[in-house]
């Protein structure tokens, strides 16, 4: 009997006990009728070959282990970033259960969001009644100050018209006529979660700036000295946005962060559940039209939003997740250029300390080969940072990055001696990455939690950066942006390098010589 009360065996160890091992062997040999061992071994090896890689890359229809989610997830992210705003997703209810679980598994925080719970009858007759009843219930029960509506693929396929439905709901008295309900159509079969973020954010800004969907008057822009900042879909948002705010405050720049979920996904445990906390206020959104400029930190995540803002006369700049020294330099210089405010000594000092840290450690990362995957903006930022460290970003892969994105990555790679023999892979998934890792080996892999299956299959150590991260705690609470953020990412890269080195030299009586106390 393996179990022991004094030292309770968890699943990790319980099933390695002889009783269970015997049981597994028995089950397998008698009832599973699995593939014969020889055939299995052959396929395991074959799946590592160049020939398999070619077949794998010849895929046209099947997607295996993608690194992207669907639009409505991003729409919920965007909605959560506004004060006392409840995301309302029009369509099937299971979707909302998924988004809430997904975010809660990453942030280890509650995520409040409602569904209009459409079923078969709504599929036939449309979801108008679901909208009418749903808005009334949400409004009365959860007392939001704004309800941000988006859609699931079901509502999109049957062609429900949000604008008309919301207006009808107001006419039927489900919510007061003046209650703010911005909306965005977010079909899951177009783009990815970053598209949904973009559509929803654009919807909210458009709603407030362009006359509340015909129920108010469009705002007139009177330019002032302030700037707007948009972060884009970002798993590290709880650490990143406060860091941006800190840097802009240090510069004395008047600014508005459009969409800021960094408080509601970072509430204290003090006896009170806060369904709403922080976020951009409606007044801030309205005032933001007067800003002289708007900066997006992730251009691919904000294409439509930035287009709308530009149309309103803003000086707009879209970065691609700038990281490291050069990336942060470019951001701060842009802010300085836009506002005329100098970059203060404090930030210069932080920059110097980051450069100091890189100089201390560069020898350990120089020439190391990396594979990385994730959202297109993150990939551009991380690629640039790796090149800056003298590392080689050999495989840069994105499921939701397109050909144009890949060309951008290639320009970065071509501009650096460390980018030689490195390549970008647009619209590819983690099964493609598996072939890359087997055929052209690298030292480290950078990606989200799902990368751990690649780490296991290919033996490439994983550094967790991206979204979602389910299996490590609290990473999202720390910034990866700014000089401070770069220091953290640098430390993560180095930690993994040193861990791998120690693990590779831990043999007693075999590799004693390299198991060093000073690195």
């Amino acid at each position: 009997m393996p179990q022991n009360v004094e030292k309770v065996l968890d699943h990790e160890n319980l099933f390695r006990e002889p009783e269970y091992k015997a049981m597994f062997d028995n089950k397998r040999s008698q009832f599973e009728f699995r593939v014969p061992a020889e055939e299995l071994a052959k396929q395991i090896e074959y799946a590592k070959t160049w020939e398999y890689r070619e077949k794998n890359f010849a895929r046209e229809a099947l997607t295996v282990n993608p690194a992207k989610a669907c639009q409505p997830l991003g729409a919920v992210f965007a909605a959560v970033g506004f004060e006392k705003t409840l995301p309302f997703v029009h369509g099937s209810q299971g979707c909302v259960a998924y988004y809430r679980s997904h975010f809660s598994r990453h942030f280890k925080e509650p995520t409040s969001c409602v569904s209009s719970s459409m079923t078969e009858d709504a599929a036939v007759f449309g979801g108008l009644n679901n909208m009418i009843d749903g808005l009334a219930n949400t409004y009365n029960l959860y007392k939001p100050e704004m309800i941000a509506v988006s859609t699931t693929c079901m509502a999109e396929v049957i062609g429900d018209d949000l604008d008309a439905f919301i207006k009808t709901s107001k006419q039927k008295g489900s919510i007061p006529a003046e209650f703010d309900v911005p909306f965005a159509h977010t079909p899951a079969f177009v783009g990815s979660h970053i598209t949904g973020y973009d559509n929803a954010l654009q919807g909210i800004i458009k709603y407030f700036w362009d006359g509340k969907a015909g129920q108010g008057t469009a705002l007139t822009r009177i330019p002032n000295e302030s700037i707007n900042f948009i972060g884009g879909f970002d798993g590290f948002v709880c650490g990143n946005l406060p860091e941006i705010r800190r840097m802009l405050d240090l510069m004395g720049v008047e600014h508005t962060i459009l969409c800021d979920p960094s408080d509601v996904w970072n509430t204290p445990t003090d006896g009170e559940f806060r369904m709403y906390d922080g976020g951009t206020t409606k007044a801030q959104v309205e005032a933001a039209i007067n800003a002289k400029a708007t900066i997006s930190f992730q251009g691919y995540s904000t294409e439509k939003t930035m287009k709308l803002i530009k149309e309103h006369g803003h000086d707009t700049t879209s970065f691609h997740h700038p990281m490291g020294v050069t990336g942060t330099d470019a951001f701060l210089m842009k802010v300085s250029e836009l506002t005329g405010k100098p970059i203060p000594k404090e930030l210069e000092l932080e920059r110097g300390r980051l450069v100091d840290a890189i100089a201390d450690s560069q020898a350990h990362l120089h020439g190391k080969k990396f594979a990385l995957y994730g959202d297109p903006d993150l990939m551009l930022g991380m690629t640039a940072f790796l090149l800056e460290l003298g590392a080689e970003p050999v495989h840069v892969l994105s499921t939701n990055g397109d050909k144009e994105w890949a060309e951008k990555v290639q320009v970065l790679l071509d501009a650096s001696p460390f980018g030689k023999n490195c390549k970008a892979y647009p619209k590819a998934d983690l099964w493609h990455m598996r072939s890359l890792l087997f055929t052209e080996k690298v030292d480290f892999l950078i990606g989200n939690t799902y990368g751990k299956y690649l780490e296991r299959d290919c033996g490439t150590p994983l550094i967790r950066l991206g979204f979602p991260i389910f299996d490590r705690h609290h990473h999202h609470r720390f910034p990866i942006w700014g000089y401070q953020g770069a220091l953290r990412v640098l430390t993560m890269l180095l930690d993994e390098y040193f861990e791998a080195l120690d693990a590779n030299t831990i043999g007693i009586g075999t590799t004693d010589y390299s198991y060093d106390i000073i690195r």
Binding site: H11, F31, Q93, Y98, C113, A123, C153, W431
Partner: protein, 482 residues
């Protein structure tokens, strides 16, 4: 102590006040109190969730792909439609299995047709055909394919049945199962379970080649039905059945294989854990193959003992005697577990809100530790679940069917339990409030909780949740003094 019937009534009335009148009237039918002697729990169930109330429920796809089919490890399950559904349900349920993932097993992988606008406009059947071809090239050792429909499939009129038949023929009788589990069907994941069960009946049982995967039957052959091996639950159950001298020929569906499904009609008895998700196929096997089925409960020693005897009663005296030997063998472990944890947990109040069988099945395990379940409810239960619940709950237990976020928060605020057991969406809400919490879908990434080995883990986990020092830190000391 739980609240009294009158106190519960007042609480429910108070909570309903927040709703618009029409909604309050509808929700009132789902909230109640169990009173001794009543045949059910006095609540309506398996009814559409109301829009905008923050239901905890999922969808039919979740019930089919996420629960029933997903764990069958040597088949490839295609999430057919846009990318999201497969992404959010990717490996999140911890249906443990052993195998070469990506080569001959596929449990923790996400296969999707990643629908684009053109697939919606022109239909996805051609793409599905191509996907099946590509699977055969890249994953030739797969033992079958299922097509798990997402919402658009049924709306755009795709004929996944025709594609499946065509491709099955092309690949010489390969098992290809179309499943009509579009998320908008039904009121919760429950219909997805049913649809998935029916798909096994129609596309596996009715097409079995009797000369394939043959083994010699024994009089002691049983199949475990309705155990998804979360954290290894089915394993810590199987070991007890085998120790009793029974031969487990199939696991449905945790760590299961298509061969096990196909051979299940050879069982002498089906033992059913999650009644809600797999009673359909159990009834079918009873009608068609004459296989009796028996429900059992492997949470906590009291229910385990009862279940072992009940299962043994379907067999000869050897098995019956063996059941007693097994019970005796684990007695020491159980006595030690209870001796260690009961004093720390005695009298603690628990509120549950879970799916499947757990809102009733885990009550005995808590009681074995001296704890009391004062409120419970089903995410997607039917009336037969609430009838079965009457054997478990005490007079005055607060019952909430398809509870809304608002109701659950208010109930917990008022009842002030020492522990809440529910899901990931609820976990952090209650922890913020300072209430200890355990996820009772995923065992909070722990487990197994089934069987004797699992009970020790369960007891340890409940103790560490309730008696964690963190709960004494939620108020700043300078505020406490004020």
């Amino acid at each position: 102590m739980s609240l009294t019937v009158e106190e519960n009534k007042a609480l429910i009335e108070e909570v309903l006040k927040a709703y618009p009148e029409k909604t309050a009237k509808k929700r009132a039918k789902h909230l109640g109190t169990f009173e001794d002697g009543k045949p059910d729990c006095g609540v309506k169930s398996n009814i559409k969730s109301l829009p905008g109330v923050m239901t905890i429920r999922g969808c039919a796809y979740a019930g089919s792909k996420g629960v029933v089919w997903g764990p069958i490890k040597d088949m490839i399950h295609i999430s057919h439609g846009p990318v999201g559904c497969g992404q959010y349900s990717w490996a999140s349920r911890r249906n443990y299995y052993i195998g070469e993932t990506g080569i001959d097993t596929f449990g923790t992988m996400q296969f999707t047709s990643d629908f684009q606008e053109k697939d919606i406009v022109f239909g996805g059947d051609k793409k599905l055909e191509k996907i099946i071809d590509e699977i055969e090239v890249l994953f030739p050792l797969n033992k079958g394919i299922t097509v798990q429909s997402e919402c658009p499939i049924g709306l755009i009129g795709d004929d996944i049945e025709a594609v499946s038949k065509k491709k099955a023929k092309e690949y010489e009788g390969k098992t290809i199962v179309p499943v009509r589990c579009e998320g908008f069907r039904g009121v919760s994941q429950s219909l997805g379970h049913h649809i998935a069960n029916d798909a096994v009946r129609d596309w596996v049982f009715d097409k079995v080649d009797p000369n394939k995967n043959v083994f010699e039957s024994s009089p002691y052959d049983v199949a475990i039905i309705g155990d998804y091996n979360i954290g290894g639950d089915a394993w810590s159950s199987r070991i007890l059945l085998e120790e009793m001298g029974l031969r487990v020929i199939a696991q449905w569906s945790g760590d299961g294989t298509i061969a096990e499904l196909e051979n299940t009609p050879k069982a002498k008895l089906n033992v059913l854990h999650c009644y809600r998700s797999m009673n359909y196929i159990s009834r079918h096997m009873e009608e068609k193959y004459g296989i009796p089925w028996v429900e059992y409960n492997f949470f906590g020693p009291t229910m385990i003992e009862k279940s072992l005897r009940e299962i043994a009663s379907h067999f000869d005296d050897t098995i019956k005697a063996n059941a007693e030997v097994v019970i005796a063998k684990y007695r020491k472990l159980i006595d030690e577990t209870i001796a260690k944890y009961k004093p720390r947990l005695q009298g603690k109040k628990v509120m549950l809100f879970v799916g499947g069988l757990r809102p009733r099945h885990v009550i005995g395990a808590y009681e074995d530790l001296g704890m009391e379940v004062v409120g419970t409810g089903y995410e997607f239960g039917h009336n037969d679940d609430y009838q079965r619940t009457t054997h478990y709950v005490k007079d005055g237990t607060l019952i909430y069917d398809d509870v809304t976020g608002y109701e659950f928060e208010k109930f917990v605020e008022k009842v002030q339990p020492d522990l809440v057991g529910s899901g990931i969406k609820e976990k952090y809400v209650f922890q913020k409030m300072g209430v200890p919490f355990r996820q009772m879908h995923s065992w909070d990434y722990s487990g197994p909780y089934h069987g004797y080995d699992g009970f020790a883990i369960f007891a340890r986990d409940m103790d560490m949740a309730i008696n964690s020092p963190v709960w004494s830190l939620t108020k700043a000391p300078w505020k406490k003094a004020a």
